[in-house]
Structure formats: C-alpha cells, structure tokens
C-alpha cells in the first residue's frame, strides 16, 4: 500500500469526498457569515446533489479502494453500497426539507451551522458504513455516525426531553459500540485480521473455538442491532425518537437504519459465505446459525414493536415502535439468506423511506400547528387539516401494507421471498403482526376522521412548499404501489456486493 495507490483510490470515494467538502464548506460559511443561516440548507442540498451525481456515476463499478491485500480492501465501491447511499441521500434531502419548516429547529436558529455540519457528519459516517468491508472502518464510521447523532438528538438544548434523549442515546450507544469493539477485538484475535474478506477465507479453512466465535459475532451483532434498532437491542429507540427533534427522529429511523442494515448484510454475506448457488441462495459456513438468529430478532422486533405500539399515545413514540416493527419485517428478508430475500429487503427499504419519512413529516407539520404529538389531540383534524389528514392516513396505511400503496408491494415481495424459502410459519407470524399493526395505525385514522368534534375549528392552511414535499413523498408510494417495476429493477440491479 503506497501513497500513489491511496491517491488513485480516491476516485472511488468521490461521493464521500463531496460530502466531506460540503461539511467543510458549511463550517466555513457559518464562520464567515454567521448571520446568513438561510443559505445553509441550500448549500447542503447542493452538496448532496453533487454527491448524488457521483454516486449515480459509480453504479456499475466494483472495485476495492484502500487495498490491504491483492483481493481485499477497506472500502468496497459496489452497487450495493451505492444503493444505500442513494437511500441515505434521499433521506437527507427530505430531512433538510423537514428541517427548514420544523419549528423545533427554528428555535435553535443560531446553531444551524452546527446542525448541518453534524448532519453531514452523519452522512459521511453512513457513506463509509455502507461501503466498509473492514471491521475497523465499520467501527470508525459507526462512531462517526453515532457521535454526530448523539449531539443532534439533543440539539434543542433547552428542552428536557431532548437533553434526556441525548444522554440516554450516548450512554446506550457508547456501551453498544464498546461491546461491538470488544467483539471485533476477539475476531481480530482469532483470525489476525479485521478485513471481512480475509476473515472469510480464514474461517473457510480453519476451525475456531465455537463459543468464542459466537461471543465475538454476537457482540458485533449488538452494535449493529443497536443501529437498526432491532429487538432486543432497541430499548433506546422509543425514548430517543420521542425526545429528539422530529427531523432527526425521521432521519434516524430511515437513514441510520439503512446504513446499519447495509453493514449487517455485508457482514453476514461476506464473512460467512461459503457459496452461492445459481438461484442466488447463500450457502453459509457452518459456524453461526444466522437464519435462526435473524428470524428470532426479526420476530421479536415486529412483535414487540407492534404490540407495544398499541399502547402509545404519543404519535412520535408510536412511530418509533412502528419503526422497530418495520425493522423486523426487513430483517425477514435477510433471514431468507438469498439474493431474493436481499432484494426484498432493499425494495422494502425504498418504500419504507417514503412512507416513514412521510408519516414523520406530517406529524411534524401537525405538531407545528397544534403543538402536540398526542393522538388524543388529533381528534377532528381530518376536517381542519384536510390535506395533512389524508396524507397521514395514506402513509400510515402504506406502513400497514394495504394496497394499492407501495407498502403492500414491499410486504408482498417479502412474503414471496419467505414462501419461496419455505419459511411459511414465519410468514404467517409476520402477517398476523400486520393485523396487529393495523389497530394502531387505524386508531390514528379514527381520531382524524371518525371522532365527532363539537366545536368548529377553522381550516388550517398548508404552505405550498410543504405540500409539495408531501406530494413528493406520497406520489412514489402510490405510483410504486400500482406500478412497481422501477423499484424492483432498481433493487434487483443493486444487489451486487463486491466479490460475488
């Protein structure tokens, strides 16, 4: 490894460089003209756009950057990574839109420079996460993501719940990453390397004490489970989601979860793969029973998420539990351990991006108006905020998976994968879970429309820009719900993980 190769490898991290550059630019602009905070979102959007262009350009490449040996490197520039980068970028764009109109963020207007800086810190962390093929890089990028998000979670400094969320997040996150790091160290001790590909080639030929390896793997899973908020590592999620500013909550629930999933998938597929047959089924090494572990986590996540969500009165908290449950569904796709399942998870992610962000955004806009996220305060809002009511209902129904929304397609594709892998019992459990989830989603609908409100309230107008953003989020759900060829194709063409 020499300097030349490092420099030449930089072309593979063009998107990351763009993000980093934007980060620096934001800091600079904020320093130079502290008054002009309004420009910051646009600079951010520009940076994201540029990064986006680079990401799109990168589709089709399959190269290692920062090679540590002939056939492996720290960083894998492949379509799989690019796919999740697109997810992250799309989420970032929307979250920036959210931030512009969020009253919480407006209240800390003076610190907008830091806000966007930290957000780009997160993006940068996520970009490296989704492409990292080395445990050290994984750890570092996760830390980069985490450290930025700890601060952002408590960004609205003066409110108690925001600060509390931040504290819980940092303690919980710190311990999780500590455990993960310990696991990584054990892997390093066993194999002498932290590179996933090299670990794979070593464990293919050598045998290890099973318990140690299991402990190491489970420790790493704790760290990843924390990121994707899968039960039983989810405990931070409801509290932090409730306490954090809404745009950040939305961001955490989509982008950071996506990055976590990317890492998990890469970790499992690269490290433990034995062979892949022509139908795309992964034959894993006989060390860890990944299918059982993930099925367990997934069923636990969706059951716990759905059943606890039944009890929530705070809509944000309810959506937090719902996002735990959604993580459970997506984990199912991984549990199938095949390209088909992977595609299903990725398709689900595209859909999840739109519907979850949409739900959070509408909740935020409503909270902006009525100053509450409590479901009881939603009574009769269907009348006073007709557009928001309809779209919220639409997003929630998509989350529940009712046709003709894209949420339905996401679930169907998932169940197709499950049934094809003969995991019918799991599929039935998941389906029954969707029935439970319907309860709490419909409860919101009920308060919006069914409950009679005596007093006549005036209709609250919605700004054109916000309406437009909502349509940007809602339209894909409807379109992909009816014609889902594009997302299926996109996901299908992006499953190439470097090395396979």
């Amino acid at each position: 490894m020499n300097i030349d190769s490092i420099i030449s490898d930089l072309i593979f991290i063009k998107p990351e460089i763009a993000i980093a550059a934007t980060l620096v630019l934001i800091v600079l602009v904020d320093l130079i003209s502290p008054k002009s905070k309004t420009a910051l979102p646009y600079i951010s959007l520009l940076g994201i756009a540029i990064a986006g262009v680079f990401v799109v350009q990168q589709f089709g490449t399959a190269e290692f950057a920062f090679k540590t040996s002939l056939s492996s490197g720290m960083f894998a520039a492949d379509d799989f990574g690019s796919f999740f980068k697109i997810i992250v970028l799309l989420a970032s764009v929307f979250v920036i839109f959210f931030s512009i109109s969020s009253s919480e963020i407006k209240s800390v207007n003076d610190h907008l420079g830091e806000y966007y800086t930290l957000m780009f810190g997160m993006i940068l962390g996520m970009f490296f996460m989704v492409s990292a093929s080395d445990l050290v890089l994984i750890f570092i990028s996760i830390e980069l993501l985490s450290l930025s998000s700890y601060v952002l979670a408590g960004f609205v400094k003066n409110t108690v719940r925001s600060s509390e969320a931040s504290l819980k997040y940092v303690i919980y996150g710190g311990v999780s990453s500590g455990i993960m790091l310990f696991g990584i160290s054990l892997i390093y001790g066993l194999t002498g390397t932290t590179n996933l590909y090299e670990i794979n080639s070593i464990i293919q030929i050598q045998s290890f004490p099973h318990i140690t390896f299991l402990i190491a793997t489970l420790f790493i899973t704790v760290g990843l489970g924390f990121k994707i908020s899968a039960a039983p590592f989810h405990f931070w999620t409801p509290d932090v989601y409730e306490g954090a500013p809404l745009p950040i909550t939305a961001y955490l629930s989509v982008a950071s979860k996506a990055a976590g999933f990317a890492v998990l998938i890469r970790f499992i597929k690269i490290t433990f793969i034995n062979s892949i047959d022509h139908h795309g089924n992964w034959e894993l090494l006989n060390i860890i029973d990944w299918r059982s572990i993930i099925v367990l986590l997934s069923i636990l996540s969706m059951t716990l998420g759905n059943f606890t969500a039944l009890w929530q009165d705070n809509l944000k908290r309810m959506l937090a539990y719902s996002s735990i449950a959604q993580a459970g569904y997506m984990l199912l796709g991984i549990a199938v351990l095949s390209d088909q399942g992977l595609t299903a998870t990725m398709i689900y992610f595209i859909v999840y991006l739109f519907m979850n962000l949409g739900a959070f955004f509408v909740v935020m806009l409503i909270a902006n108006e009525i100053g509450s996220e409590d479901i009881e305060d939603y009574k009769g809002l269907g009348k006073t905020m007709p557009f928001l009511g309809v779209t919220l209902a639409f997003f929630l129904l998509s989350l529940a998976g009712i046709p003709p929304t894209a949420g339905f397609i996401g679930k169907v594709v998932l169940f197709i994968a499950l049934v094809d892998a003969n995991m019918i019992a799991v599929a039935v459990i998941a389906l029954l879970n969707t029935v439970v989830s319907l309860y709490y989603y419909v409860r919101v609908l009920k308060n919006l429309y069914l409950v009679q409100v005596d007093e006549e309230k005036p209709v609250i107008k919605l700004s054109f820009a916000n309406g437009f953003v909502i349509i940007l989020l809602a339209a894909p759900i409807l379109i992909f719900g009816v014609y889902f060829t594009p997302i299926v194709n996109f996901a299908k063409n992006s499953i190439n993980i470097l090395g396979f």
Binding site: Y172, L214, V222, P232, L296, N306
Partner: protein, 693 residues
C-alpha cells in the same frame, strides 16, 4: 280447450294486477274484478262442459319449458316445464272453485262495503283465485308447490286483511308458518321425487314408479316420499296436528273464510292426495287414514262447545276434511273427491250464511248472544238449515250421498283389513256433526233472542248477499249429482266423471284388495264402483246399506240430542257441563293444542333463538370472552383499552395483544441502565440458545 284453461287461469291474475294498481285511483275498480270473475266462471263451465261431454276420459295437457339448463354434466338433461293438465277431476274442481269464488265476490260486494281497503280486498280475492286455479290445472308437482305457496300468500293477506287487529295479524302469521311446516315436508318429498326421476311431471313420475323405479330403490322410501308430500296436505287441509291455524284464520272476513278456509284452499290438500293417489303404499295409506280419522274426531269434539259461530264452522271444516283424508286413506277415492265437491258447496253456504248473520247482527259472532233470528232473517235461516242437513248427512241432500259413501268405504275397509277404528270414528263423528250443527242452528235462529238490542237491529241481508246463499243451498240437494237419492253410484258424477284411481305402486306394497284381479276387470269392465278387486267391490256393496242406515241413525241421534239440549231444554247443558267439567273444558280449550304448541314448539324456537342471539352477542362475538373475563381483572388497562379497540373476537385479540403489549411495555422503564441490563441478559440468552450449533 287449453286456451280456455289458460284464460280461466290468468283472468283473475289480470284482475288482481289491475285492481291493485288502480285501486287507489279508481273507486269502482272492484267491478272490473267481478266481471273478470264472471268471465272466469263462464270459462270454467264451458271447459267442464266440453271436457266432460266430448273428451271422455282422455287427459288433455299442454306444457312449455320454463327453465332449460340443457344437457348438464352429472345430472343429464334438466328441463323444468310448466303445463296444464285437464282431466275430469281438474275440470270439476275448477268449476267448484270458480263458482264459489264468483259467489263470494258477489257476496262481498255488500258484505265488505265501506271498508277502507275495499278494492284491495277484491284484488286479493283475484290473486287467490288465480293461485287456486294454478293448483287445479297443474300437470307437475313443482308447479303445484308454486301455486301451493301462492295460495298460502293470498290466504295470509286475506286472513290478515284487517291487520290493525293484532289477533288478525297473529292469525295470518300463524296460518302461513304452520302451513310452511307442512310445505317443507312436501318440498322434501318433491326433492326425493326429483332426485329419483329428474322430473316433476306427474305422468312421468307415475310412469317411473309403475315400472318399478322407486326412490332410493326402496319401498320404504316410496312410503316416506308419499307421506312427506302428504305433509303438505296436512298443513293446507288443516289436519291434526297442524290444524291449529284454521280456527284462528276465522279472523279474516267471513266471505274469505267461506272461499278459502272452507271450500277451496283447504280442500287443496285433498286434491293433492287425489292427484297423486297412485303412489301411496299401503303403509302410507294407513297413516293417512289415521291422520284423517284423528282430524275428523278431535275437531268435532271441540266444535261441540265453541260459541263463536265461525269457530264451530271452522272445526267442522277440519272434521269434514278429515273425513275426506280418511276416505282416501281407506281407499274410498271416488267418495273422497265427491265429498270434496259437495262439502265445498254446503260449507260455503254455511259460511256465507254465518256471514249474513254476522252482518245482520253487526259483527256479533257469539251464538250465545243470538237467538230467534229465524224471523228476522228467513232466507238465511232456510239456506243455513239446508246446508246443515247436508253436512249432517240427511237424505235428499248431497252430503248424505257423499258421506254415506265414505262411511261405507271405511266399513268395507274394516271388513277387509280389520281396522275397525275408522268406521267407528266415522259414525261417531257423524253424530257429533249433526249435534253441533243443530246446536248452532237452534242457538242462532230458534228460541228467544238473548240480546234484544242487537236483535232489534238485525235485518235480512241484501239481495247480493242472499242470492249466493240460495244458489249454494240449491247445490246441496242430491239431484245435481244423481237421480237416485240413496245411491250416488247411479249418478253421473260417480259413474262417469270420477274414474277409479290408477295405481302405480308395486303390488307388493298395496293392500291385498287393491291388487286388481285381471279376469274380474275384463269381465265387468272398469267402473267406479268396481275399483281394485272383486273382493273390494263385494265388501263395498255389502257395506252400502248397513252404513246408510247406521249413519242416518247417528245423524238423527245427533239432531235429537241437540233439540233435547237446546230447543226443548230437557237436559240442562250447564249441569252436564258442570258434571263433566274436565271433559267440557278440554273441548272448550280445543284440546289445548295451541297451548301445547306455544309451550313447546313456539316457545322452544323463540327461546332457543333468544339464547342463540345472546350467545351470538356474548360468546361467539368474543370467543374468549373467556380470556376477556380473566382480563377484566386488569380493569386498569381495559378501561383505557376500550378506546383503542373493541369487544368480541376482535376484542379478545385486542385484549390479548394489549396484554402482550403491556408486558413488553414493562421493559421500557425509561432508565437507560435498566435497558443495558436487558441487553446483557439478551446476549446471555442468545449465547445460551445458539451455543450448541
């Protein structure tokens, strides 16, 4: 011929449709209905005349395909035809129906005048006449069933015509539902026939049975099929145990009672048995005879004590229908149908007469409050008397002829088979009939008026009401039917019009006497008197005069007792009633049939349905309200939970999920250190779970 039949069939329907639609617009539209009825009557008479005079014994029929399912897999050709079949029995019946219907229409013009739904009343009568003609003309059993139900409808509408009265609407409902019970039996019978033969047409069914093709290839099931269809007749002809609706049906206007519940519709059951007589096995016939005997006896004993003039007549109707059914059961086929005709006329006369009385007495129906009306309403009295003589079986009347025939039939049957129950019941009921009819006459027309005021206002009815009475009374004399007042077999009705029945059942299932001996038939030739076998003809012949004398004695005894009791007051009725109080009350309370049914079937059904209703609400609606009741302990969260979800099965799931959720919630303590403990525990558990891999 067929065209006339179609016209006769559909004219009343046109009358119904026109009247019902224009009823509220044109006040005088009822005239249209009456004209229509006249045309129908004329048609029927022409039909009968031509049929009986020119076509002899041939059966004229015509059919068209109503439903054609084509050549179906598994079941072959499925075609359902509707058609008209004209034989002697049908044309005689249609004349009876049309004549009485016409007379009732005429009678009603005056009787119903002033009713707010005057036109609608005539419309309903039209509907009934149409439906009844359908029963008469039909050539297949499905069509029979269709019209069977339609007469049920018109009966329902007419019984409940004054539906403001709860008793009337109750009676209508009761009539329909009780009839339905019989109809279901009939329908099951039809299903069995269809399943066996894939046809509904009488001819084809008969043909199949005659070639030995039985339902489920078993004689037993043939018996059952016959009895199931007979169940329809039990309902419609108000036979025990389904007779309870007919007395209640007297809530309807009296002319309706005369038309539907005395002369025609209730006779449809008998007509049905006559139509399919050939498929009954000996076992089936015995049961039919038994039902008939019971239906003759029980209502007759009830009629003894009833005070409502219409109720007496109603029970008498059941009793007379019982005679007919019994007659069919014992094989006296021709007399049964003959009695059907004669009974139709004199019973219609009695009912219309009672209507006239009720009309004259301003809606008074209690005979205990009448008396002495002979002077006020002479025409009504005499016609009523003639009809009563006829029903009692006094010579020179038509009733004498037909009833005597039936009694002789039972006599012969008993002689041949040893079932002496039937003649005993027959003669006993003959006495009872004479007694209660004359009780009515004496209490109503003789003696002193008991209600002076009403008596003063009483008056003879108008011409349009009396004219039908006179006509019907006239038809109660013997000379319309036979020149010989003591032997009906000499007359044209029995010797030429009503033919001996054709039997289709396998010979092994018949009574011995019903197996024709070939040489005997070839020797004598078929004639009505010589049905079945020589044995039977001899027995019948031997029974003729003894039966006649005995029946005359019984009738005389009945009349005499009635006079002793009520006219001359030689025996105190009250004392007698006091002495046999239990028996008296038993009769007065109609053998407690209504109470029995109310307490068992009705209460049972309603109670069961209530139970199910509650069950549905409470139990099914929450398969675990079992779990729900456990959960009820957790009232703290249920209260809150009711907002979120619901009760029932959904509820149970909700409670359950809520409960699970509640457990999961416990983990979310808000303390980050607790969370971390949970994480550690999870890791240990996961390790434990997967360590063996």
């Amino acid at each position: 011929m067929i065209n006339i039949a179609i016209a006769v069939l559909f004219l009343p329907l046109i009358g119904f449709v026109v009247t019902v639609f224009l009823g509220s617009k044109i006040k005088q539209i009822y005239f249209f209905e009456n004209i229509i009825m006249f045309l129908s009557l004329a048609g029927a008479i022409i039909l009968a005349f031509f049929k009986l005079s020119s076509f002899g014994d041939t059966t004229i029929s015509s059919e068209f395909v109503w439903i054609d399912l084509g050549n179906t897999p598994l079941m072959g050709d499925i075609k359902i035809t509707l058609g008209i079949m004209l034989d002697n029995i049908a044309v005689m019946m249609i004349v009876v129906v049309m004549l009485i219907s016409f007379l009732v229409h005429i009678f009603s013009i005056e009787y119903m005048r002033g009713d707010p739904r005057y036109n609608r009343y005539f419309a309903y009568l039209g509907l009934f006449t149409f439906s009844m003609s359908g029963i008469v003309f039909t050539h297949n059993i499905l069509m029979m069933y269709i019209f069977w139900e339609l007469v049920g409808l018109s009966s329902y509408l007419l019984i409940g015509f004054w539906f403001e009265k709860k008793s009337a609407s109750d009676a209508a409902k009761k009539a329909f539902i009780v009839n339905r019970i019989g109809d279901v039996g009939m329908f099951i019978g039809i299903m069995m026939l269809y399943n066996a033969y894939h046809t509904f047409t009488f001819d084809e069914i008969f043909y199949q049975i005659s070639i030995g093709n039985l339902p489920f290839n078993s004689e037993f099931w043939l018996t059952v099929t016959g009895l199931l269809i007979f169940a329809g007749a039990i309902g419609k002809s108000a036979q025990v145990p389904l007779h309870v609706w007919l007395p209640d049906a007297m809530e309807g206007p009296t002319p309706v009672s005369a038309l539907i519940h005395a002369a025609t519709m209730v006779a449809a059951g008998v007509y049905l048995i006559v139509r399919i007589f050939g498929i009954f096995t000996a076992d089936a016939m015995l049961i039919i005879a038994l039902i008939g005997a019971l239906s003759a006896l029980i209502p007759a004993t009830i009629a003894l004590t009833q005070n409502d003039i219409k109720k007496v007549l109603a029970y008498s109707t059941i009793s007379q229908l019982g005679y007919m059914i019994m007659a069919l059961g014992v094989g006296a086929y021709t007399f049964a149908f003959f009695h059907l005709i004669t009974h139709a006329f004199f019973k219609a006369c009695l009912f219309l007469g009672s209507g006239s009385v009720i009309h004259g007495m301003h809606n008074e129906q209690d005979i205990q409050k009448m008396g002495g009306l002979r002077k006020k309403m002479p025409l009504t009295y005499y016609t009523f008397l003639i009809a009563s003589l006829a029903i009692s079986g006094i010579p020179l009347t038509s009733g004498f002829l037909s009833k005597d025939g039936i009694l002789a039939g039972t006599f012969a049957f008993a002689n041949l088979t040893g079932h002496w129950l039937f003649p005993i019941v027959g003669f006993f009921v003959a006495m009872l009939t004479a007694f209660y009819m004359f009780r009515v006459i004496i209490l109503t027309f003789h003696g002193e008026p008991k209600n002076r005021e009403k008596y003063e206002h009483a008056h003879e009815s108008k011409f349009v009401m009396v004219m039908p009475l006179v006509l019907l009374a006239g038809l109660s004399f013997f000379f319309w039917y036979t020149p010989n007042p003591v032997n009906p077999n000499d007359g044209w009705v029995l010797s030429e019009w009503i033919k001996a029945p054709e039997l289709y059942t396998p010979e092994s299932t018949r009574y011995d006497f019903m197996i024709p001996d070939e040489e005997y038939i070839s020797h004598i030739g078929t004639s009505s008197e010589m049905m079945y076998s020589e044995k039977y003809a001899e027995a019948l012949h031997a029974a003729h005069y003894p039966a006649m004398i005995l029946s005359l004695l019984m009738a005389g005894l009945g009349i005499l007792t009635a006079f002793l009791f009520y006219q001359w007051k030689k025996i105190s009725v009250d004392k007698l009633a006091e002495r046999f109080k239990a028996l008296y009350n038993w009769s007065l309370n109609k053998w407690h049939f209504d109470e029995l049914y109310d307490a068992t079937v009705v209460a049972g059904t309603v109670g069961f349905s209530r139970l199910l209703g509650a069950f549905d609400l409470k139990v099914i609606d929450g398969i675990v309200d079992g779990a729900a009741s456990v959960t009820r302990g957790f009232s703290s969260f249920i209260g809150k939970f009711d907002n979120i979800v619901v009760d029932g099965l959904v509820n149970f799931m909700a409670y359950l999920s809520g409960f699970i959720g509640l457990i999961f919630r416990r983990f979310q303590t808000g303390k980050v250190q607790t969370y971390l403990i949970f994480v550690l525990i999870s890791i240990v558990l996961l390790l434990f779970l997967f360590k063996s891999f």
